[in-house]
Subunit: 456 residues, 2 copies
């Protein structure tokens, strides 16, 4: 007998997961190792420690331990804003007239406005535990920078954020939120770093990119005593921390005997999607259950659907290790026309391997269709979604409408990663009809592919 | 034996209140009736129906029915963003080193960013049920306008918002959120109404006030077929809807055997405070329990602490009924120097009567102290509070620090009404040291008091 499903399922504190799940442990084909860009040999723990905290470097390399304990201090911080609700989208279902059952896991109910806080607090914790003075990072849309500022403030760590210049200018309020939490924020590229100076010399008018900002943050971390670099996506350690999303979702669904047929998430660097799907993919990898999994990316930055599966630099400045991933090339710079995040040229190496092995599929969508879906969703479900999250909404609505045609009562789960309160500039363009779609031609993608490192 | 208190107490859906509590039913001294400004006679239902929906007019006049059923449709909407969490401020307690136990009821986890949605959805529902085409309203800081836009979008009603001009200019993103939900937003004073034209003629450079915007919205509602006016605070009907806050709080506290010694809330028009304290004040009125209740208002707009208890106009344009309340006079315009809401010249007539009868006390606080408390709170509790809500935080911290001195283990409850995501302009001034305090002199208050209507 199935229980009545409430609008929102909140776990009790004692039901919250106490371990992260490391999906790599269940993968037969492991993600390819990070390589030293000089020697092309796998990065050792010792090499990674120069950039990352020791414990995080260990997590980055660990592809065999299936469950990793979440330290008590992090669990306590999680309790301030988690569990996040698993929402049954009754109103959206009704509006669409679909027989599908739609659920979303909403990660926006915290001041960072997104899931980013799940990993930020973990990374700040390990930095503090190691006795560091502070951390550096980059931020694009600003969600990661905000999350890290909050986490560092909680543990009394210095936080230096390089913010992609166009976001810095378009989102002054994001900057002020970070300052409220005591962070210092620098527009990138800046004259503070050697790599920033070099990029500005080559491209004087550049409004920056996530790749440039990463390079500056890494340089600042490795040249300042007592600092390390932290990253909000892409890395396997980040995906590990984000599994708290999927684990909570799985516990909540199991409690009500719900099994999703389709699981949908937006994919930029891939950590939110990876975190959401990990426990489900784990069952798929172990042959216990099957799920259709869909990664959604912007048509303007289509790393999975049009990228190459190859070793590439993680950053434009080419100071980071090489990762094997679906990538458009570190030289690819997404159109300024594209609003919001999901601007990264590559994709988590864990997701890239899963995609290559056929455990998930990918779709790309245009941004005006995404904003139309966002507005439709907001008007019935109340929540004003982030542009990034709205990529998942768009495909969830598409799938629900397919069910309407076929009459199938599929259960659809998607990740609603965050809110769009700081993205009203993009919404304004959408309202005023000044937003356009951009799909790169093959010619547009060529410079990116040409920037891929030679591996022979 | 007391249970362990989680960080956040969420009620289950079936535990949510199904009725609002009308505190007026338990008051021996009822709030004074609204008067017709022409005849100085109590407003009749028939007169009120010209301005408000019939059902809401009835609620406005009803001071005897203690419990009023919440219609099913409103309960369903509540389930989309309620219950709101009752949070134990473990981290703030630790940071302050106080033996006090601090709780806050957090109303910011919805897109309107505040408690305003609790009444907006009720008012939109009754308008729809009456077969109206749309509603008009005013908004200051923008929270109410956003809430009403969301509610109207849900029930497919037109929504016309007059937004205080200085907020319209300082908060373009608020305007875009309202547009996302399909509302039309006009800066006030405007040339669209007679009263707007008159005010602009008399004060050409004015940046507007809540009182002016009310007058315009009322005029638009009463001169447009199929429209009514709705208001986000001050009125007894709004306070009634907001009791969902206090009822949920009471149920959650009772569940864990928690009894607050002090209850604190910010007070502008008074509906959030009234909603929070109603069930507790009810017990006090019936002699069942005692609580110390503190209303906190800005020093720049001190209606309770420095106002007069008198009949006054609710709006600058003098088109609304007269209400007996603590007021600075409808001619009082708060300093532009004052950031955020709580700018209203008067106070809910329910709260005014309770205050006059000694059931609650009031304190006024300066805005730089409020922002300092807000930042302190944000850094340990994560949530970035609205400037309005931070008035309550300031006094909660003051009381917790008193406990630290005396060693008393008091239980402090305060209302955290919303988030400050759209108030970063004010935070920026605070960070840059360009924010100042303004306390009106007795001379400054004189024009307001001179504007009080003659009642003989």
């Amino acid at each position: 007998m199935s229980k009545e499903i409430p609008y929102k399922i909140y776990l009790e504190e004692h039901e919250m997961p106490k371990q992260w799940y490391n999906v790599r442990a269940d993968m037969k084909n492991k993600p390819a190792p990070l390589l030293n860009p000089g020697t092309k040999q796998p990065m050792t723990l010792e090499e990674l420690e120069h950039v990352f905290c020791t414990e995080l470097a260990k997590q980055e390399l660990d592809d065999t331990t299936p469950y990793i304990d979440i330290p008590e201090e992090i669990l306590n911080f999680y309790k301030m804003y988690r569990p996040s609700p698993l929402v049954r989208a009754y109103c959206l279902e009704k509006k669409l007239g679909t027989p599908a059952k739609i659920y979303y896991k909403f990660e926006g109910n915290n001041t960072s406005g997104s899931h980013k806080l799940n990993s930020a607090i973990a990374q700040a914790y390990y930095a503090k535990k190691q006795g560091l003075k502070g951390v550096t990072t980059e931020t694009g849309a600003g969600q990661w920078g905000t999350a890290l500022s909050m986490a560092c403030s909680y543990f009394d760590l210095d936080c230096k954020v390089y913010m992609v210049k166009c976001s810095y200018e378009q989102k002054p309020f994001r900057r002020e939120v970070m300052r409220t939490y005591g962070a210092s924020v620098t527009p990138s590229p800046s004259m503070e770093t050697e790599v920033g100076k070099k990029i500005l010399l080559e491209h004087p008018g550049t409004t920056g990119s996530l790749g440039c900002a990463i390079s500056e943050a890494v340089e600042a971390a490795t040249t300042t005593e007592g600092y390390r670099y932290v990253l909000g996506s892409v890395l396997s350690q980040v995906l590990l921390h984000q599994t708290v999303i999927g684990l909570e979702t799985k516990i909540a669904m199991d409690k009500y005997d719900i099994k999703p047929d389709i699981i949908i998430g937006c994919a930029g660097g891939g950590s939110n999607l990876g975190g959401l799907i990990s426990p489900f993919v784990g069952e798929k990898l172990r042959g216990e259950n099957d799920y259709q999994i869909i990664a959604v990316e912007p048509a303007s930055c289509p790393s999975l659907t049009r990228g190459k599966y190859a070793y590439d630099f993680c950053d434009t400045g080419k100071v980071c290790p090489l990762a094997k991933m679906y990538t458009l090339g570190s030289g690819f710079i997404p159109s300024a026309n594209h609003a919001g995040g999901l601007r990264y040229h590559g994709m988590s190496s864990v997701l890239s391997q899963l995609y290559d092995d056929g455990y998930m599929e990918a779709r790309s969508v245009g941004q005006t269709a995404v904003f139309a879906a966002a507005e439709q969703f907001a008007r019935v479900e109340g929540i004003l979604p982030a542009p990034e999250s709205s990529h998942a909404i768009k495909v969830a609505i598409d799938e629900a409408l397919k069910c309407k045609e076929t009459g199938e009562e599929k259960t659809i789960l998607f990740g609603l990663t965050g809110t769009g309160y700081f993205d009203m500039y993009a919404y304004e363009n959408f309202h005023n009809g000044t937003m356009s779609d951009y799909i790169p031609t093959d010619e547009d993608l060529k410079p990116g592919f040409d920037s891929l490192p030679k591996m022979d």
